[in-house]
């Protein structure tokens, strides 16, 4: 496995030089159009990632067969997950999945597990940032949490987020237990909605992904308090007038010891053969080596992840139990 993945890594570098002329190294390739399932709504982060990949694949002609993005965002993406489960054995469907792989089944008893799919590769890891409205007086995480603590029992601060018992809600519960505070969590349909509701002062804070709040951050309407990661984001180019992504302190630096990341990975349906996995893995490595992809990563402040099925599997095996534990503590597990 290791020697093969080094070879792919080399292929990716070579691919950056002569993408179109790269000979097909994998033994399998699609024989009909590939359906790229997005388990989320139009315009959201998953949709953007899928369409960026689609554009790059088209532009560099990385695949002979067409690549069709298909939105299956019903029931917060459960529709897309179930469509993938039912397509077991069909290598002409791929999905760009995220933590909802386990949060939805745990919260709703949906008969689905990531083990129903065949992992291909991580594309990126998405960060979470604690944001508040610039018009609030709290300039640091500590000030914000102190203020939140004071009103915890009387009129808790309002924390906005996407969906209920999902990543944002889980992270909010995580903060509550670590910092000994209480928020009134208000679930919205999308991160974009959570962002504008924060600007309109209908909520006090949110834990949006960088891409979901960037527009409001740049317009100096929201303040980035800290990022939930072990290290700061690597991007040092100024995004707002005064700050780069790298200027946001980690939550640990500010005294809130939490790191929480969300995977964005590619899967094919259950029963995928190593050849099929190899084809898509190689395809995504080629995508990852293009300047367009690098630009996309930086613009959305995504964290780079190593390619390959082994890395993804290792991540899932650690991340799923963590979610189970957090969701159990927060009493988010489905009861019936």
């Amino acid at each position: 496995m290791d020697s093969r993945s080094t070879a792919w890594g080399f292929g990716a570098i070579a691919g950056a030089v002569c993408l179109a002329s790269l000979p097909a190294a994998a033994a399998w390739e699609p024989t009909k159009p590939v359906e790229f399932i997005v388990p989320a709504g139009a315009g959201g982060a998953s949709d953007q990632m899928a369409r960026t990949i689609q554009t790059i694949v088209q532009k560099y002609e990385l695949m002979k067969q067409p690549f069709i993005v298909s939105l299956k965002g019903g029931a917060s993406g459960a529709e897309g997950l179930m469509a993938m489960k039912q397509a077991a054995g069909d290598p002409h469907k791929i999905i760009v999945a995220q933590s909802s792989l386990y949060t939805i089944p745990y919260a709703t008893n949906l008969p689905f597990s990531w083990k129903d799919l065949t992992p291909v590769t991580l594309m990126a890891l998405d960060e979470f940032v604690l944001w508040d409205n610039v018009e609030l007086p709290y300039k640091t995480t500590q000030e914000f949490l102190d203020a939140a603590k004071k009103v915890s029992t009387t009129e808790p601060m309002k924390m906005g987020g996407t969906g209920s018992k999902r990543e944002d809600h889980i992270l909010t519960a995580f903060i509550e237990s670590k910092a000994g505070v209480k928020f009134a969590y208000i679930p919205y349909k999308s991160g974009g909605e959570a962002a504008t509701q924060l600007v309109g002062k209908h909520t006090d804070a949110n834990v949006n992904n960088p891409s979901e709040n960037i527009a409001q951050w740049r317009a100096n309407q929201v303040r980035a308090l800290c990022v939930f990661d072990k290290e700061r984001l690597p991007y040092k180019a100024k995004v707002t007038e005064t700050q780069s992504w790298n200027d946001i302190p980690t939550c640990k630096e500010t005294g809130l010891d939490i790191d929480y990341l969300m995977l964005r990975g590619i899967f094919i349906p259950g029963g995928g053969t190593p050849d099929q996995v190899a084809f898509y893995d190689q395809l995504m490595r080629k995508v990852g080596a293009t300047p367009e992809w690098k630009e996309y990563m930086e613009k959305n402040a995504l964290k780079e992840a190593e390619f390959g099925p082994a890395v993804l599997k290792a991540f899932l095996e650690k991340d799923e139990p963590l979610h189970k534990q957090l969701m159990t503590e927060a009493k988010f597990l489905a009861t019936n």
């Binding site: 139009a42 532009k59 019903g74 179930m82 209920s164 600007v199």
Partner: protein
Amino acid sequence: MDGTAIESLLHGFVVLLTLKNILLMMLGIILGIFVGVLPGLGGPNGVALLLPLTFTMDPTGAIVLLSCIYWGALFGGAITSILFNIPGEAWSVATTFDGYPMAQQGRAGEALTAAFTASFFGALAAVLLITFLAPLVARFALRFGPPEFFAVYFLTFCSFVGMGKEARHKILISMLIGFLLAAVGMDTVGGSLRMTFGFSDLLRGFDFLVAVIGLFGLSEILLTMEEKLAFEGKQAKLDVKVVWRTWKSLPRYWATLLRSAVAGCWLGITPGGAIAASFMGYGLAKRFSRDPDSFGTGRIEGVLAPETAAHAAGTSALLPMLALGIPGSGTAAVLLGGLMIWGLQPGPLLFVEHADFVWGLIASMYLGNIAGLILVLATVPLFAAILRVPFPTIASSVIVLCAIGAYAVHGAVFDIWLMVVFGIIGYVFKKLDYPLAPLALALVLGDRAEDAFRQTMIASRGSLGVFWSNSLVGSITTLALLLLFWPVLSDIVKRLRKPRGGLPTEAASS
């Protein structure tokens, strides 16, 4: 302020007026009309399908093409509503109420002309608003939190119950069935699945478009087959002058047009607004009419009002998308995704950093709508003549169209069967004289209203006082309650007036 807006707009026209962009505009409109005519394909799906085509184009050209598809689809959506009682888009439902009866009476050309012209008028009003008041409107949109959203949805529901001409209990029953169906699927606020009974196909919930294609389109075919196996609109003449004749009568309805345009612009900046706007535009026209009972039998105002409101809303829905990054409609959501792929970040800074693009887009709203109006008006005689085709041919084509439409929404075969079931429900409703529109309205706005209400309750910790906590939400809520109890109130007013004046005039009640 005004000076800079006009300057920027003129600059936008300069950016836009290249041969390539004008050709793209025409292409977009024509594609859009086709997309709009096929029910179910609709604006969002049509734009999503064509999105990849634009990735290699420059952003301005791309958005011109896509937004013109959007305008074309908006225009085209009215065609099937009027001719076959199949709403192409959610906001075309209200157009069927009077548009379809008009077509049946052989006035299809008149109805189509009225619909297209009203659409144009509504869109124009909204574009003017965007041009001159964009920053102000964007700030106003930010004031909408959960209580305000709920109040707007509540207002729409109340205006339906209060002003419907059918028996109140029938309106309520129909609406409650709609709420029940809207609850199926993921519960955003609770985070769990509801009433899916383990069926994967129910995870999506009941899609509004699938439901209305069956409820309105298929049920109409069933009813016609039973009754007389013929469309009454058969005698529709191929008449080129119909456009001109209809236009001459339009200035008379200036108040209706203006009212609807205002309602549309106002609701357009709230998500789901276009749908609420079309129903509300219709409701307002009926409310202010001297003869409200004749609505639903083929009144031209019944076509003008919802179309003006829907297009004013559909167009102004683009404003929150550009200025705030929140899409006001499904199509706007797809356009939003497109913007980001072209490297444009919608949000407060878009107007500053990509002024070229923004003003190019706004200029294309003017030009695209003018081009669209000319193109669709040219097709009026053609589409009106479709009704001359013998019924068996039409009926089978319409059924095929319904099936394709239902399938196209999510690419799911299950939805075709669902559409058939809704067709039968629609048939039964019509036989029992239950109104279908409240069901459709509740189905499309029910879960949003529920989310907004529960979000409000979380934030206010269960206090209903929050619906009067500021002047905006307070006035909407009060207006909603007034409309809900309007029949009761107007009765009281009548009774109070009787002893004094002795003349229970029409004016007192309307």
